[in-house]
Symmetry: C2
Subunit: 258 residues, 2 copies
DNA sequence: ATTCACGGTTTACGCCGTTCACTGGTAATA
DNA sequence: TATTACCAGTGAACGGCGTAAACCGTGAAT
């Protein structure tokens, strides 16, 4: 009661951390298929069954890794958002909200390309069968990740209400779902409840647009056409800022992305 | 020389076919991870090593399956395109070219949702490490698949030259790549060489847009917001037809997608 | 009639996730 | 302090995986 964590618990938590770090190393260096219990244990000078003291199964370990990575990505994006928010607006680069969103989207792409294995784990083909209850592990971090983009989006809306479809222009079934979605998200954030359903639609449009561009590039599915898609991504960005009622000049790519 | 296939070769080809069909059944019924040599052999009343008489490795079998599926998808799309081309234009549904493209995109989505396992194999996280030379197996079918969309696109352009970015508006590096891409595709199809680079950019924009929308939905990555994304997809379509200089009214979804 | 190639089997190797019985040391208890 | 209880870790084992090698029977070609 007095001490929330006993000494034992602390060393235990440290081991859990070490396991996940080892797993992470394997993931980034040898890809997702190298993420085996035996490899992790081997790397740590242990045997595979020992890991069962810390994780109930291989899948749960992977899911917790996914949750961690979601957290990292979330804070990386938040950091970029904060620094972009503090940087004074440069001339001709659109409103502050747009600048921030553009910076965050760029960071998202950069992160995806720098961490393709992790990106595949988070956003690629879903792990295993439909909607296990194991999703509980990754659901919350996934939602807080989504909230980064959504927070920026609502902030932008508060300062500059761009054009969105009127509610009666939206298919009734879709409208209901968008309202449910909005009410879902607005738990704890009353500002969201103010958003019109049309804005929710624009948000999803932006997100699918971004997802498509980044995923195609990260998975190499654009290689058949482009070696370096960074300039292409700038078009994606200006398109997205277009939805948001702002223009953002695609910057010329000075050098090919490393 | 006279007989291109001996009797032996024919029965052999039939067996190859049977193996792939069995594999396909396993894939659709139990997902990609059930696609094992032993399971396929078991299903056929054989032993796993026997399959090595027909395929050099598990991966090659999978790749050939992927190639087959690409072929199926391609002809499914072509069939829809043909039937849409023959159907008389209904009032207020835009130009014929747009109608066809919209029909093909809808079919692409429908196919993806009806064949999520196969879709994951074709368009999900890429199999194994970077750019093996095994890609040779899937490259050609992948390209002919792409050519379906690209053919419709060039056809549309021939009849109705929608607005595209001028060459000097496009980042130099991107322009070069787009030209290379166009010249790649125009081998055997001289009409393509006529396309401005801006059109290539629009094409890629459309394709990434479509890919993003369909992939997110097929992978369940939209579930956090929408149960049924069919109405949302109609917005995607009207957006795409917008790039193509045409408007297409999003049709109201009469019933939730099965 | 003999040879030979082919399609299949069995066996085996080294991976994998997972279970279980066991052990040594450490912490809490009597 | 002596004993107990726990707990991290081990080793062996099960079934499944891809794959390699040796082997074998049948049917076609010589």
């Amino acid at each position: 009661m007095s001490h929330p964590l006993s000494r034992r618990d602390r060393v235990r938590a440290a081991t859990v951390q070490e396991i996940k770090q080892t797993a992470r190393g394997l993931l980034v260096e040898q890809g997702p298929e190298a993420l085996t219990l035996r490899a992790i244990a081997r790397e740590m000078g242990m045997t595979a069954p020992a890991l069962y003291r810390y994780f109930d199964s291989h899948e749960i370990l992977v899911r917790q890794l996914v949750a961690d990575i979601f957290g990292e990505l979330t804070s990386a994006l938040r950091a970029v958002a904060d620094s972009a928010a503090q940087r004074p607006a440069t001339s001709g680069s659109g409103s502050k909200g747009t600048v921030i969103i553009v910076a965050v989207c760029r960071e998202f792409r950069r992160w995806a390309l720098d961490h393709t294995a992790e990106y595949a784990l988070l956003f690629g083909t879903p792990i295993r069968g439909r909607r296990d209850r194991l999703d509980e592990i990754t659901d919350r971090p996934g939602r807080t990740f989504a909230r980064v983009f959504f927070g920026l989006f609502t902030e932008l809306w508060r300062h500059h209400q761009f054009a969105v479809p009127a509610p009666d222009e939206i298919d009734a079934g879709l409208r209901d779902q968008l309202e449910r979605f909005r009410d879902d998200l607005s738990a704890g954030l009353p500002a969201i409840a103010e958003l019109p359903v049309g804005a929710m639609l624009i948000f999803l449009r932006c997100w699918t647009r971004l997802y498509g561009a980044v995923t195609m590039e990260a998975f190499g599915h654009l290689k058949f056409a482009l070696d370096d898609a960074s300039a292409m991504f700038e078009y994606t960005l200006s398109e997205m800022t277009g939805w948001l009622g702002m223009t953002y000049p695609p910057r010329q790519s000075s050098a090919p992305a490393g």
